[in-house]
Amino acid sequence: MLAEFLQFLFSGITVGATYALAALGFTLIYNASNVINFAQGEFIMLGGMLAVFFSATGLPMPAAIALAILVPAVVGIALEKFAIEPLKGAETVTLIIITIGASLVIRGLVQVTLGKNTFSLPPFSGDTPIMVLGATLLPQSLWVLGVTAIVVAALWYFFSKTLLGKAMLATSVNRVAAELVGINTGFVLFLSFALSAALGALGGILITPITLTSYDVGIMLGLKGFVAAVLGGLGNGLGAVIGGLIVGILESMGAGYISSAYKDAIPFVLILLILFFMPRGIFGGKSTDRV
């Protein structure tokens, strides 16, 4: 009983960490620009696929991983420069369609160049499972959780202790006021796309040894990251992380105890219930509208 429960919990937290990184990516971009980036899932896919590709070319693993984070970051910057920035003030739907267009382009390019096969990466430090009270824990899960924890801590430090981080926060609170006090909001936008693409890619690389990857994994991962971000109250960084973990754990528990066929439906049922009863997410503040 306990072993089974722990097993579901471990796999839930592991996937949840990936959702958390994706949700953080959504949050960063949303805060800087009010855009919901539907291409976020493709950055996750891109990270995993590129890591596989670069390591297959014979590069040592750390170099392959660094490149697999760098390239999506550049793609994110290009998306911001060429598609988001020229459209300041457009309607929500228009921006949603742009990012969906970008996701199609990214997915299509990967499909054409790297093929439709499913790929995997070797685990970073072996695959001898660790036994914990009868449940098995993969060493790769520890990598996922450890790196996610470090990233979250680094982001917390960045946003609360550095000038640039505070400038980004200020921009998310009030863009015009931020510009008035001399913050370069254009650079903030640029940075948030680069950061969120890199975060997504990192999540994709970490999870690939466990869940495998292919050109089309980005859609579901991205949508679940979006659920996690909304669950935590859109725009709330800590909320996004907790939202990601909740989505991961509930999905894994639901698949284990209720029905594995309906596993993918669980996050969406959850988000509908949350939106019905807590329309601003679990950690969302109250809002007032300007007329």
């Binding site: 949303y30 919901i36 060429f82 598609a83 020229p86 459209l87 457009a90 309607e91 929500t92 739907v93 228009t94 949603i96 369609i97 742009i98 969906i100 267009g101 970008a102 996701s103 199609l104 382009v105 990214i106 997915r107 299509g108 390019l109 499909q111 054409v112 859609i219 949508l223 979006f226 659920v227 909304v230 859109l234 066929a261 309906y262 993918d264 439906a265 969406f268 049922v269 988000i271 509908l272 939106l275 019905f276 009863f277 329309p279 601003r280 509208d289 007329v291």
Partner: protein
Amino acid sequence: MRKSPFFGLYIVIALLLIIPFIAPNNFYLDLAIRMAINAIIVLGLNLLIGFAGQISLGHAGFLGIGAYASAVLPTHFGWHPLPAMATGAALAAGLAALVARPIFKLKGNYLAMATLGLGIIISIAIRNETNLTGGPDGMPVPVMGLMGFDLSSDKQWYWVIALLLVFSLWASLNMIDSPFGRALRALHGSEVASQVVGVDIVRYKVAIFVLSAAFASIMGSITAHYVGFVTPTFADFFHSIELVTMVVVGGMASIYGSLVGAVLLTALPQALATFEGWETVVFGVILMLCMIFMPKGLVPTLVSKFGRGD
């Protein structure tokens, strides 16, 4: 002089009358029928997105309910297609009404999330209830028959769909200038202002959502009968996105934009078939370019450029 908004309707009718005589073969007739079906669906969706300003990223879910009602009820329970279609519509409307009130307290991105979630749940259910729906492989849909007369040839279908398109167009043109249409446009402009002048905004939003869900379900049934086969992809997220794309590329809150968007984006995959594997990339690039250079959509952009500002 102000041109009547119905002028375009006459052009559409003229085109619809000519097409079957100039279509070189059934392939083009089939393409025309699918364009018209999409145009009708997009007209309904544009009332919701363009006029009332409410995003739905799960509309294919409602199409799926109609399509599968028309497939499952006659096949497994021996129903006549018409009551099956009506049941699908009632189901879609009921579901929409059930979720509408809580959903419409939400705005913008939250609304997008809620409708997206609803659509995905519907499509996962269709995919998993293999005993009823055939699962991922889909299932055949019986022929639509009415009073001993079977609707089966492409020619017959063409005229039925053309008539439906003209009727939907006429109804939409009338509706946007009716008190109901004005109320919808008002709440898109400013919800607070419309509340002040006495528009019950939640009631109107719920009404248009339920209406468009029922409408989508009926069109799902009709499409299913026409194609003769349904698969879960008909109800999935990507199909919802395709429909929203047609609305936005053609032009939000533009009746004729819906037609143009549906026609272009139905034809596009055919035109792109020659790109062998690059279809997705080219489709994505075209989508992005359209939005970057014409964020208001094709028809409104062209009208403001060349129109005489009537």
